[in-house]
């Protein structure tokens, strides 16, 4: 065993997370186990966004010497399924605990067939090492609800490995023989044999730098859904290895404002030729756009039918489809702010209102007939423009409970209900 590998084993941790679950319209706590890797002596730990996110109430880290230390969330990025934690160093110091940290390797240099190891906590079995090879170093998949309902995979491709990856491996490192991190193990096909996926270290390094700085990654948004041009080059009459197809333009988006249409072929972004013949080539193109500073002016060269079109798009900030969540203990209801993305997906007029994500049985909201999936648009005739509006009315209600009028939208039907103490 190399010294580097030994060092790596000492930097892999088990992560126990207690997090809120609002599904029943109440503050319930779920427990889960994942893995992580210590990146620095100041206690930064890299793991998956789906292991520890903003809903975490308590995070406990088990070091390689089996000692337990609490940790806090530094920031997360569900798009790449990465989270950054920081150990409670004061506590560690007080207790005289020491730990090692691991180093990144270069995922770009991996070759298919190269031996890799996954280290983590599958099914709670702390410090398990499994071995395999890189099965594919450029796997593509996107998932709109992949990380607890959040989008993921739009800006990176994945490493695929046949090293055994089981639930609990999530967030652990995928390493080469010298113990260097080449990926963060993230997911596997359940019920399949040895089809595991990891976020490449080249992406992870960039995200870690961003999270250390701001606690989040800011990206640009233009509102286009791309599709590989595969098999369609002939139809659109474009040169080989040129262009990417716009499958869809989101209504009200910067791209729509710039006049782009579904069916257009993007040939170049800011003068740089794009090649989106195959699905694997889409994340880098999407990342190219997302990496522009918010508010940048982006020049697009397009082909529409036989016409060449040039237009400029001013990018906006990329927002997640999941808004702020909150639970009202008095009404027995959990809600999530409607985001612009959610409003667009569901063809709502605008982003006013909150989505009901949980209802507690027997509580006022349930008694009045409010159900999961409903959208609360007004309370006592006030538009619910933010969760704060609801919090304010809830506070008044808690102080002096009085019948309260809710306007609720279900599918496209509007009904009025009264919540009573």
């Amino acid at each position: 065993m190399s010294g580097g590998f030994e060092r790596l084993l000492d930097s892999v941790v088990r992560i126990d997370v207690q997090e809120f679950n609002f599904d029943d319209g109440a503050r319930r706590i779920d427990s889960s186990i994942g893995s992580g890797v210590i990146l620095s002596q100041d206690g930064l730990i890299l793991t998956n966004a789906h292991v520890a996110g903003p809903k975490a109430v308590e995070i406990n880290v088990t070091l390689s010497n089996l000692e337990r230390v609490s940790a806090k969330l530094v920031g997360w990025d569900h798009w790449t399924d990465l989270s950054l934690l920081r150990l409670d160093l004061n506590d560690a110091k007080k207790r005289g605990l020491v730990f090692k940290h691991a180093e990144f390797g270069d995922s770009e240099k991996l070759y298919v067939g190269e031996t890799v190891y996954a280290v983590g906590t599958p099914h709670g079995l702390t410090r398990t090492v499994t071995r395999g090879i890189i099965s594919n170093n450029n796997r593509y998949f996107e998932d709109t609800e992949g990380v607890d309902g959040y989008e993921t995979g739009n800006f990176n491709t994945w490493l695929q490995t046949d090293a055994a990856i089981n639930p609990g491996n999530s967030g652990g490192p995928l390493v080469t023989e010298d113990g260097r991190i080449v990926g963060i193990t993230s997911r596997a096909y359940l019920g399949a044999n040895n089809l595991g996926f990891a976020i490449p270290s080249v992406i992870a390094k960039r995200v870690v730098a961003g999270l250390v700085q701001d606690g989040s990654i800011t990206r640009s948004y233009v509102g286009i859904v791309l599709k590989a041009l595969q098999d369609l080059e002939g139809f659109y009459d474009v040169a080989t290895n040129t262009g990417v197809l716009i499958d869809s333009v989101e209504a009200g988006s910067p791209a729509a404002a710039a006049g782009l249409q579904a069916g257009d072929i993007i040939l170049a972004v800011d003068g740089k030729k794009v090649d989106g013949r195959f699905p694997e080539q889409l994340p880098p193109i999407q990342n190219l756009i997302a990496s522009l500073p918010v508010g940048s002016t982006m020049a697009i060269d397009c082909k529409r039918g036989s016409k060449d079109i040039s237009s400029t798009i001013v990018t906006a900030k990329l927002e997640s489809r999941m808004g702020e969540e909150w639970v009202s203990d008095t009404w027995g209801i959990a809600v999530r702010k409607i985001s612009l993305a959610f409003a667009r997906e569901n063809q709502l007029l605008d982003d006013t209102g909150v989505l009901v994500i949980g209802v507690q049985r027997g509580f006022p909201a349930d008694v009045a007939g409010i159900a999961r999936g409903d959208i609360i648009t007004k309370i006592n005739q006030n538009p619910v423009s933010s969760v704060d509006v609801m919090k304010g009315i809830d506070a008044q209600y808690s102080e002096k409970p009085e019948p309260t009028l809710f306007e609720v939208q279900r599918e496209r039907r509007v009904s009025l209900v009264v919540l009573k103490p």
Binding site: L232, L245, G263, E345, N346, P403, L405, E407, V414, L416
Partner: protein, 461 residues
């Protein structure tokens, strides 16, 4: 042990004496019942259905309940209607006349050959409509399945409850007639028509679940509920003029939702009933008259909306008030908007073309049916109803080129080969040309599905 046996004898005797004439009444009245068979013929399959009907006049006109035919099916796809007299294995061809929007009934006319063997139900309602009374003894007719030659049989019960739903509906203690078949008083007078059965909740036990899980069962062959004679007799003459039941009165207030008691008292409307308008449809009479989304309709033509149990019934009530009218009629709505009460006078229109009226064309080589994009499609897709453009994929044949390319039913095809699909006629022309062109290896559609669009490449070989 002796006493119960004696009692049983006494009960049996009493029943026997009282029902001495029932077989005779029954034998006459069975003649106003029929079974109706038809075939739903789609591009890919023929699907037979059977329902029960009641004869309403001497021209062989028969009414079937609304649920007898799926409203999403185009009348053009309804084929091979046959009328079977009870106990008759042969059947006679019949013609589908259409559906009346107000009653919901489908009208069918039996061929001349069997008309003289049928008796209209009106023959048993000479003294006009009479409402069933509480606890009254009632009986009705059921028909067995086709393999038993639709043999008629008798059902008997007592009236347990009469309610407005919003139609006056009697609910008997047990099943009293097949849906769509008549119910009579003890003396043979017509009392009503079997309605769709109400669900009953049962507990289902299984090996793993010993506490029982509630399940709702609905009897499709017999019903304990019937529409009273007053809801039937006055409307037997509403024979549709065409298979679509046109003209159809249209207001354009979409998604009416009941205002419940709690909300009424919150809004200081006390005992008032009401209907919340979810949306006002583009270009509709409601929009022209100034009705707005979220208005609450409290009354029609100066009369407040009555209160029903459950609250939801008021929606059917309002919808029937519209359906009862004709395009051109005026409807005055009393509306609550915020805290203001206003009167809105809407002149009803003929409803825009419905999906089941839309033109369709099947393309065998591509493997899908293109359907005309109609007003309702625009509403469903939140787009401008003035821009009725493109076609909708109505049916996609499994494993056809269209299916393999990812076309799905309800996809809205907006562009064909990079150009606007255009009107239904234009699109059908284009698709026809594509199919005819033997040299062609592919065609590309731009389709809209939900909030997304997608470019689909259909390979033709």
């Amino acid at each position: 042990m002796k006493i119960p046996t004696l009692l049983l004898c006494a009960v049996a005797l009493a029943t026997a004496v009282r029902s001495a004439d029932l077989p005779a009444l029954w034998a006459d009245r069975v003649k106003c019942t029929v079974a109706v068979e038809y075939v739903t013929q789609t591009e890919l399959e023929r699907h037979p259905s059977v329902s029960y009907g009641t004869v309403v006049d001497s021209n062989g006109t028969i009414i079937l309940p609304s649920a007898a035919i799926d409203l999403r099916i185009s009348p053009k796809q309804l084929k091979d209607f046959r009328v079977y007299l009870p106990g008759d294995p042969e059947g006679t061809p019949a013609e589908y006349i259409g559906r009346d929007a107000f009653t919901g009934w489908h009208f069918v006319r039996a061929g001349a050959a069997v008309r003289d063997r049928m008796v209209p139900v009106t023959a048993f309602a000479k003294s006009g409509p009479r409402e069933a009374e509480l606890a009254e003894e009632v009986w009705g007719i059921g028909l067995r399945n086709k393999d038993e030659d639709f043999t008629p049989y008798i059902l008997q019960s007592h009236v347990a409850l009469v309610q407005s739903l919003p139609q006056r509906t009697a609910i008997a203690q047990q099943e009293v007639a097949g849906p769509g078949l008549p119910v009579f008083a003890r003396d043979g007078q017509f009392l009503g028509l079997g309605a769709s059965s109400f669900g009953q909740t049962f507990l289902e036990f299984s090996g793993s679940d010993r506490d029982g899980a509630p399940i709702m069962l609905v009897n499709l062959e017999e019903s304990s509920a019937f529409l009273t004679a007053g809801e039937v007799l006055p409307y037997l003459g509403r024979i549709p003029k065409n298979e679509f039941g046109r003209p159809l009165a249209w207001l354009g207030a979409y998604g009416l939702e009941p205002m419940d008691r709690e909300v009424a008292s919150f809004l200081k409307l006390q005992s008032q009933s009401g209907a919340v308008v979810s949306e006002v449809l583009e270009g509709s009479p409601a929009e022209k008259a100034g009705l707005k989304a979220h208005d609450i309709i409290l009354g029609v033509d100066g009369k407040p909306l009555p209160r029903f149990k459950p609250d939801r019934v008021v929606i059917d009530y309002v919808e029937r008030l519209i359906a009862e009218r004709a395009p051109g009629d005026t409807m005055v709505l009393s509306v609550l908007r915020g805290t203001d009460r206003i009167e809105i006078s809407a002149k009803l229109d003929d409803e825009p073309r419905l999906v089941r009226e839309a033109d369709r064309m099947y393309f065998e080589k591509l493997g899908f049916t293109a359907r005309e994009f109609v007003y309702g499609d625009a509403i469903a897709r939140h787009t401008k109803a003035t821009e009725l453009n493109g076609v909708v994929a109505h049916l996609v044949k499994p494993n056809s080129p269209a299916d393999i390319a990812g076309l799905r039913p309800d996809d809205w095809i907006k562009e064909i080969d990079g150009a606007d699909a255009g009107s239904f006629t234009a699109a059908v022309q284009k698709l026809g040309d594509i199919e005819k062109d033997m040299m062609r290896s592919e065609t590309v559609f731009l389709v809209s599905r939900g909030s997304d669009t997608a470019v689909l490449r259909i390979k033709l070989h």
